[in-house]
Structure formats: structure tokens, C-alpha cells
């Protein structure tokens, strides 16, 4: 019987080694990729947590400032207001912030805000100061036209009316970046800077026809124009009429010191004399006839604050005569809609401040102008010295339009 014998084929097992080798290499590469991926994720997570922690700290800071300013606006602010918050969650994140505020009458506010996102922490510190409505000599939303020969400078009314006693530079500026919004006619001299809107090109926004100034640059932040509302005055809602001669307004005068009136109408060559502190809300127009005059009587401690919804019309040779020579004693707030027209005149020097960010203002004065103007458009019709009172920067929380802003800031 034939018997088949199967001879086994000898195999070396090399495929096993090959497979193990491939597995080993794949394991090394995979581990490396995983490590890299993990590191990449950790880096990203840390970055994101840093950003959210910082955002939380920013939010805490903003919240404290807003809380303070809300009290200022509502006239309920006092130095005892020290906003505080602990572990407030930042919406849509796992971050949270804590804020601590300290107020000191001498040094003002100091705020510390700490933002945390898991193991990442950011700490911000800031000090605040009060900012008023009149930070610059002339600040407009749109255009400024200065007559040939105008000089813009500064003075400090707490020292003297002499510009030589004040070294601060004057600043005039617009929020606009459109061409030719600031026209400096031949001979205009700004002893300070001319600024234009954010991202504006000074060479196109400023139409320089022979003016001089120290520097020009674009704003990093648009100038703010906080809204100003007329006070809640009740009546008498009548007209203040000056038909002949002179009438007085103020305590013991022909018209009350405080009130809401429909308009002021002055015939030619008449006088409205202000005695004492007066606050008027004019819902209509002010119409000053030819050669008429509003006089702030310095012997009676006069001051006049006017909120006006309508236009201000000044005929030839009429004017405001602030005999107190203190700009803050004549305050004009334009509370009308965009396009409000204010045409002011002064027979000699003009002392006053005007805040009418939606109004177009034209000014003609027989002498120099002391104060500050904030308007939509402004045109100076005569060559005068426009002198900004630097003491206007010193404000109190009860002043119209005052609010706290960050003065110094740091990130730890």
C-alpha cells in the first residue's frame, strides 16, 4: 500500500515580526499625534480661558462704572456708592467676575475687577475721574469754520483771564472724517492741536488755508455727546416779552428766576437784565431784536442757564453781555432736534459755554470769546481770540452731563 507522506513546509514567522513592527511604528506615531493634539488642545483651552477671564474682568469693571454713572445721571450719586459684586457669572460661559470699589473724596474711585475662568485669572485696576461736557475749546460733530485772524488759546478763570497765565494747549476737533470739515482760514492760530474723527485723514479733514497749529491727529475714541434733558419745570408756559426799555428776570424781578416759557421775544433796543441765579426752559425760540441785549448783572450775582428747544435769532448789534466775566455764569443747552439753529451775538466780549450737539451755531462777537462750545456745526463770523477756560475741566457729580470715566488703568 502506497502511503503519502506530507512534508511540512518550513516557515520562518517573519510576517509576525513585520506585523509587530508596523503595530509598534503605528503606536509611536499615534502616541506622538495624540500628545501633540493634547498639547494643542491645552494651548487652545488656556487661550480661550485667558480671553474669557479677561472679558469677565472687563465686564466687572464696566458694570461698576455703569452703576456709578447711573447714579450720577439720576442725581442720586453720593460718595458712599461703592459698587461691589462677588462671583457673578458671565453669561454663556463658565467665567465669573468679582468687583470691589473704594471711594475716597481726595483720590476718587478705585476699582479692582477680577475675572476667572477655571484656573485662569485676570485682574484689572482702574481709577476714575469726573468728565464734564466741556473738555475742549471747540468740539463739533461736524464742521468748524474759523474766520481769518482767529486765535484759539486757553486761560484759567481760577487764576486770571490772561492766556499768558495758562500753559495748557487748546484743542479743537470734530468727530467727522469727511473732507474740509475744519476750515482754518488764513491767519488762524490754534495754540494747541486740531483733531479729527477716528481713522480720519487730517490732511483731508482739515482745510488749511494758512492757519497754524501745534499738531493734528485723529481721535482714538469719538468725542462723546451725552444727552442733556431740560429740567422738569412747571410753567408758567408764557412768553417773556420785552417790548420797550428794560425788564428784569430773577428773584424779585419782572419774571421768575426759574420757569418754563414758550419763548423770549425782545424788540429793538430793549434790555433783559438778569438778577440772581436763573434757569429757564424755553420750549420755543429766542428772538433778539436789533440792538437788544441780555445783561447778566454782576452786581446782583447773576447767572443764567437756558435750555432751548427752538432756534436763537439775533438781529444786528444785539448780544449777550455777561458782565460777571465768568463763562460758567452763562450756560446755553440746545435741546432741540437736529438742525436747531443758534445765532448768537455779543457787542463786546462773550463769556459763556454752549452745549448743543445737534445744533448749528454761528457766533459774532465784538470782542474775545471766553468759554467752550460743543455743537454740531460751528462758524465764527469775526476774527477774535477764542479762549478756552481750562477750569471747565473741573466738574462735580451734580454738573449737567457729568460722568465718571477711566483715568488710569492697569492689568495685572
Amino acid at each position: 500500500m502506497k502511503k503519502k507522506v506530507k512534508i511540512p513546509i518550513q516557515q520562518s514567522g517573519s510576517i509576525l515580526i513585520l506585523v509587530l513592527l508596523i503595530v509598534l511604528i503605528s503606536f509611536i506615531i499615534g502616541t506622538g499625534l495624540l500628545a501633540l493634539g493634547t498639547q494643542s488642545r491645552i494651548t487652545s483651552i488656556n487661550q480661550v480661558q485667558d480671553i474669557t477671564a479677561r472679558s469677565a474682568a472687563d465686564a466687572g469693571m464696566e458694570r461698576a462704572i455703569q452703576e456709578i454713572n447711573n447714579a450720577v445721571i439720576s442725581k442720586s450719586w453720593s460718595g458712599s456708592l461703592e459698587p461691589i459684586a462677588a462671583q457673578v457669572a458671565l453669561p454663556n460661559s463658565e467665567a465669573e467676575y468679582s468687583v470691589k470699589t473704594v471711594y475716597d473724596a481726595a483720590d476718587g474711585y478705585r476699582i479692582v475687577s477680577v475675572g476667572t475662568d477655571r484656573n485662569r485669572t485676570r485682574t484689572l485696576e482702574a481709577t476714575l475721574r469726573l468728565r464734564g461736557l466741556f473738555e475742549n475749546a471747540i468740539q463739533c460733530r461736524s464742521g468748524i469754520i474759523l474766520k481769518s485772524g482767529t486765535v484759539v488759546d486757553t486761560f484759567d478763570s481760577s487764576i486770571s483771564l490772561d492766556p499768558a497765565d495758562c500753559t495748557e494747549p487748546a484743542i479743537i476737533g470734530t468727530n467727522s472724517i469727511d473732507p474740509d470739515m475744519i476750515v482754518l482760514n488764513n491767519g488762524v492760530n490754534v495754540n494747541g492741536d486740531v483733531v479729527v474723527g477716528v481713522g480720519g485723514d487730517t490732511s483731508t479733514v482739515i482745510k488749511d488755508l494758512g492757519g497754524t497749529y501745534d499738531d493734528s491727529y485723529s481721535l482714538s475714541t469719538p468725542a462723546e455727546f451725552p444727552p442733556v434733558s431740560p429740567p422738569s419745570l412747571i410753567g408758567p408756559d408764557t412768553s417773556i416779552e420785552v417790548k420797550t426799555g428794560e425788564i428784569t428776570i430773577g428773584p424779585g424781578g419782572d419774571y421768575p428766576a426759574i420757569g418754563r416759557f414758550s419763548d423770549i421775544s425782545m424788540k429793538n433796543s430793549t434790555t433783559l437784565r438778569v438778577i440772581g441765579d436763573c434757569t429757564l426752559y424755553i420750549t420755543g425760540d429766542v428772538d433778539m431784536g436789533q440792538s437788544s441785549e441780555i445783561i447778566l448783572d454782576e452786581t446782583k450775582g447773576a447767572s443764567l442757564t437756558i435750555y432751548i428747544d427752538g432756534d436763537w435769532i439775533s438781529d444786528n448789534n444785539s448780544g449777550i453781555n455777561n458782565a460777571t466775566q465768568a463763562p460758567l455764569n452763562f450756560k446755553l443747552y440746545g435741546t432741540g432736534p437736529v438742525g436747531q439753529q443758534i445765532d448768537l451775538k455779543a457787542k463786546s466780549e462773550f463769556y459763556g459755554v454752549i452745549y448743543a450737539p445737534d445744533a448749528d451755531l454761528t457766533m459774532f462777537s465784538g470782542g474775545d470769546i471766553y468759554g467752550s462750545f460743543v455743537t454740531n456745526n460751528f462758524e465764527l463770523k469775526n476774527p477774535a481770540s477764542f479762549l478756552y477756560d481750562v477750569s471747565l475741566k473741573t466738574v462735580s457729580a451734580t454738573d449737567e452731563g457729568a460722568r465718571f470715566v477711566v483715568e488710569r488703568w492697569r492689568e495685572l
Binding site: K2, K3, V5, I7, I9, I22, I25, I29, G32, L33, L36, G37, Q39, S40, T43, E125, A126, T127, R129, V198, G199, Y217, S218, S220, T221, P222, V405, V406, E407, R408, W409, R410, E411
Partner: protein, 174 residues
């Protein structure tokens, strides 16, 4: 009686060719996969640790840190790729802006971005005290004023990795 088989062990030429072909395909496939994996690994490594990524991170961090503490009152843009911001050396005790930081592309080496620090006096005269290279392989650098701050666009290309970062920082100080 046992009959000795005369048939010898081995493969036919067809089997060998087939085996070589299959092995070649397998080796080629494995080689391609491994090469691809290696390339991916290197790309990933470059994204995390590469020159472009590191430079982008460094430039962004420096820009954020400095611009956030700079003054919102004044800064100076000279062209689109050169900006100088001003800040206080001591946030509480400095009475005037007394430091500056200038971010710019080198004229000599336009592919490099620097930050130069220095002091300023009351007339804003600048005296440089230090200079640090923030990034190499810069293909684009642009600063743009935005409402309340400055935006930086930085493009980098180190030959392996192309990165563009856009970051913005708010100016906080007076």
C-alpha cells in the same frame, strides 16, 4: 514500500511574480500611509510649535498687553504698518505719559516685525531703550484705528505654515 516523491518544494514563477506584486502594493500602500502620517505629524507640530505659530502668538500677546494699557488720548500711525502708542511707566504715580511702544516692520528686513520701547519727555521726544523682534517671515502687517482701539492684521509664512491673525485691543488709559 514507500515511494519517494520526486516533486521538489518551491514556487512557480507565476506564484513568485504574484507574491512580489502583492507585496509591493502592500509595501507601497503602507509607505504612502506612513509618509502621509509623517507629513501630518510635521504639519501638526508646525501648527503648535512652528515658527509662524510661535511668532503669531508672541506678536498678539505683546500687542494686546501694550495697547490695552496705552493712552486713548493720542497715538501715532505712520503708514499702515507702523504705530506708536504711549503709556504710563507707573499707572498711578506717573504724571504724564512717559513711555512709548512702537510696533513696526523693519525697513531693512520687511519680513520682520519689531516692538521698540522707550521714554518720552514732555515734548513727546522719544528715546529708545529696547527693541525686541516679535516675528519673522512677516508677509503682511497692518494697523487700523477702530472705535476706541487699534486692530492689527499680521500675516506670516515660514515656508511650511501660512498664518494670518487679526486681533484688536481697546486703549484704556487717559
Amino acid at each position: 514500500m514507500t515511494k519517494q516523491s520526486t516533486k521538489t518544494g518551491g514556487f512557480s514563477i507565476t506564484e513568485l511574480i504574484l507574491a512580489i506584486a502583492v507585496s509591493s502594493i502592500m509595501l507601497l500602500t503602507i509607505g504612502v500611509v506612513m509618509l502621509d502620517t509623517q507629513r501630518g505629524w510635521l504639519d501638526t507640530y508646525a501648527k503648535v510649535h512652528g515658527g509662524a505659530a510661535g511668532d503669531a502668538m508672541m506678536a498678539k500677546t505683546a500687542f494686546d498687553r501694550i495697547v490695552r494699557k496705552a493712552s486713548r488720548s493720542i497715538y501715532d500711525i505712520d503708514g499702515s504698518d507702523d504705530i506708536t502708542v504711549y503709556y504710563y511707566n507707573n499707572w498711578l504715580t506717573s504724571t504724564e505719559l512717559d513711555r512709548y511702544a512702537r510696533f513696526y516692520r523693519s525697513d531693512d528686513k520687511p519680513t520682520e516685525m519689531y516692538v521698540q520701547h522707550g521714554t518720552i519727555d514732555s515734548s513727546l521726544t522719544e528715546t529708545a531703550t529696547s527693541e525686541v523682534r516679535l516675528a519673522s517671515n512677516v508677509t503682511n502687517l497692518e494697523f487700523l484705528p477702530i472705535d476706541g482701539g487699534i486692530q492689527m492684521t499680521l500675516g506670516l509664512d515660514d515656508g511650511r505654515e501660512t498664518t494670518t491673525i487679526v486681533t484688536a485691543a481697546i486703549l484704556h488709559n487717559e
